[in-house]
């Protein structure tokens, strides 16, 4: 049997053409799925937002009317605008995003630095801390829904701590709160839970970046007599900058879309809209109120907001973009 050294050249098609065709063939399934459910869906949503499509009516082109309805362009002055659920949801979402991203990023950095230093049981901490990140948001929401109740563990811990500190000293007693039923505590409670679940995820990213920093850098700083705090501000933080940018962007995209927690822990974004977020509003408008067009319009506004946030963050945090 003769050993074949080279492939038999196919008739009429060069190697280059064949490679091109194969390339396109290999990405065809991807193109179909992205074309239909991402790009197609995006364009479709854009068209819907200019109609009055509901769940049961034939769509009619209405121009910017749907956006006008969503944004409640002044019909009755500022008071009415503030009552509009869209602005309420937007306000809630922005507060949620800014607070959660701030804390999750800083806590993640701080804990990554602690875990990166020479401590015992490092791997134990690293593995156990990551658990909240692998658990479904549904499950975490249900557990916290229980813990935040008036008879829940959060109230029990606060009661115990206050009884043994200010309670014992000044006789002040802590009144238990139903955290999710109170307009002032409902949203902050969900924020705290969200910080709890995201810190470990981002901590791992920072930890990986910290381990890439060569130890000589720190040794040199030590020789120059730099304090721990000074080393952190002048060496660690600047070197972490690309990861801080990444974490802030990922965190912002995630928090601006918060939905599962609101859906599971509150009664339709209540009490009195205190926990209604934009993502929840998108769902509610479409599948509870049957306003598909309004829902699509809100979705587009959210997309623009996320993009603007991204540009701002890039301006301030991404070194390469500023160069």
């Amino acid at each position: 049997m003769a050993i074949q050294v080279a492939p038999p050249p196919r008739q009429g098609m060069s190697r280059k053409t064949r490679e091109s065709l194969t390339g396109w063939l290999f990405i065809t399934p991807t193109l179909i799925i992205f074309g239909l459910f991402t790009f197609g869906a995006m364009i479709y949503a854009f068209f819907i937002s200019f109609t009055d499509l509901g769940l049961f009516n034939e769509p009619k082109f209405v121009g910017l009317d749907t956006y006008g309805k969503v944004l409640n362009i002044p019909a009755g002055g500022l008071g009415e605008i503030l009552n509009n659920i869209f602005y309420k949801a937007l306000g809630n979402t922005l507060i949620f995003s800014v607070v959660v991203v701030f804390f999750q990023t800083w806590l993640a950095i701080i804990f990554a630095v602690i875990l990166n230093s020479k401590i015992r049981f490092r791997n134990f901490f690293r593995v156990t801390w990551y658990l909240p990140s692998v658990t479904a948001s549904v499950v975490i929401s249900l557990i916290f829904f229980w813990m935040y109740k008036q008879q829940g563990i959060v109230n029990a811990v606060i009661t115990w701590v206050s009884d043994h500190t200010v309670g014992a000293l000044f006789g002040i007693h802590y009144q238990t709160v139903a955290f999710l039923d109170d307009t002032t505590t409902a949203l902050p409670s969900i924020m705290a839970m969200n910080i709890f679940t995201t810190v470990p995820t981002f901590m791992v990213l920072f930890l990986a970046a910290l381990q890439d920093i060569p130890p000589e850098v720190y040794e040199a700083a030590k020789l120059d007599g730099a304090t721990t705090v000074r080393t952190f501000w002048s060496i660690t933080l600047p070197l972490l900058r690309p990861i801080i940018f990444l974490v802030t962007v990922l965190g912002t995209i995630g928090t601006l879309q918060v939905f599962d927690q609101v859906y599971l822990m509150t009664n339709e974004g209540g009490p009195l809209g205190a926990t209604t977020t934009v993502a929840y509003l998108i769902y509610h408008q479409a599948f509870k109120d049957n306003h598909l067009a309004r829902s699509a319009a809100i979705g587009f506004i959210l997309f623009i907001i996320i993009f603007l946030f991204f540009l701002v963050q890039r301006r301030f945090l991404d070194k390469d973009a500023n160069a």
């Binding site: 290999f26 459910f37 869906a41 229980w146």
Partner: protein, 306 residues
């Protein structure tokens, strides 16, 4: 003294520093260490506490789980809570719903992982190893979709699937999720780093491009494929919003949507909700413990994204 040390030539200050390092722990150092470990212990307690409490709560009675002050260990262990969750919810024909939800979750997550691995690696091979016109722009567009919030696509996706008559079928979850930008990006990066010699050898042996992909590239990419498989399984197993919108009848629910349904059905029995939650959590935690290496690797790959 400090300023003087800085003026002195380098070796002297170095000697002084190394001496200081050998002097052993200072009081300040010990206090700092105590604070550090206290902080670590507190953080561990905060992060693990909810899961331990939920696990213990799943064995309590409905009354005890809401007792004030809260109890730590169940006063009486009720493993029958789990049996109740498993059997109590039934459809019109008397079939248990809970095992069905579990099966739906396993099936949807399983098909998701298999399809993602195949289609993402196929596309990534084309992007990383083949040359064809337009490949750069297509890859850029795909990676750019990572910026699009999923919730924005929810309504149009629902409408498109509805046009095909696929809403409330497994297809509505499987088809749109069969390929993803994260997977394509991760594998393209990995494939680019594989040396070209083996492929060239395969080409000389007359292997087709598909054979090269299947027999040469895929076996070499095993670590990246394992990472992607774990990440995608985790994502599909925990996915909620998409399924909530696209699967409407009880027998189609995956476990996450089923849990949200149970929250409405078992308002007075949080113990049962906690028991039901364990069916979602325990497999996820076991997978994490066995494959924790890949989780860390995955988040490091994700770091490359920036």
């Amino acid at each position: 003294m400090a300023t003087e040390a800085r003026v002195q030539p380098m070796p002297a200050s170095a000697v002084e520093q190394s001496q200081r390092g050998q002097r052993g722990p200072t009081i300040g150092g010990i206090i700092l260490n105590i604070i550090r470990y206290a902080l670590l212990a507190l953080m561990t307690l905060i992060l693990l506490g909810p899961f331990i409490l939920a696990f213990l709560g799943s064995f309590k009675t409905g009354a005890e789980v809401l007792a004030w002050p809260p109890t730590f260990l169940p006063s009486q262990w009720h493993p029958d809570n789990y049996a109740q969750v498993w059997n109590q919810m039934t459809d019109q024909n008397g079939n248990s719903l809970f095992p069905r939800w579990l099966l739906n979750s396993v099936f949807l997550a399983g098909t998701h992982v298999v399809l993602q691995l195949f289609l993402c690696s196929l596309a990534a091979y084309a992007f990383a190893r083949l040359h064809f016109p337009g490949q750069k722009i297509v890859l850029t567009l795909i990676v750019a979709t990572l910026m699009i919030p999923g919730v924005v696509l929810l309504i149009p996706k629902y409408l498109i699937l509805n046009k095909f008559g696929l809403v409330n079928t497994y297809w509505s979850i499987i088809i749109p999720g069969a390929v993803g930008a994260t997977g394509i990006f991760l594998l393209t990066q990995f494939f680019r780093a594989i040396p070209k010699d083996l492929e060239e050898a395969a080409a000389i042996d007359g292997a087709s491009l598909f054979t090269t992909y299947w027999r040469v590239i895929l076996p070499l990419a095993r670590p990246a494929l394992a990472t992607l498989a774990i990440l995608e399984f985790q994502g599909a197993w925990n996915s909620f919003q998409n399924e909530l919108v696209l699967l409407n009848t009880q027998e189609m629910f995956p476990l996450t949507v089923g849990l949200s349904f149970l929250k409405g059905a078992y308002t007075g029995n949080i113990n049962l909700i906690l028991a039901a939650s364990m069916f979602n959590t325990v497999p996820a935690v076991l997978i994490f413990i066995f494959f924790s290496r890949y989780f860390v690797q995955g988040s490091t790959y994700a770091g490359v994204k920036g």
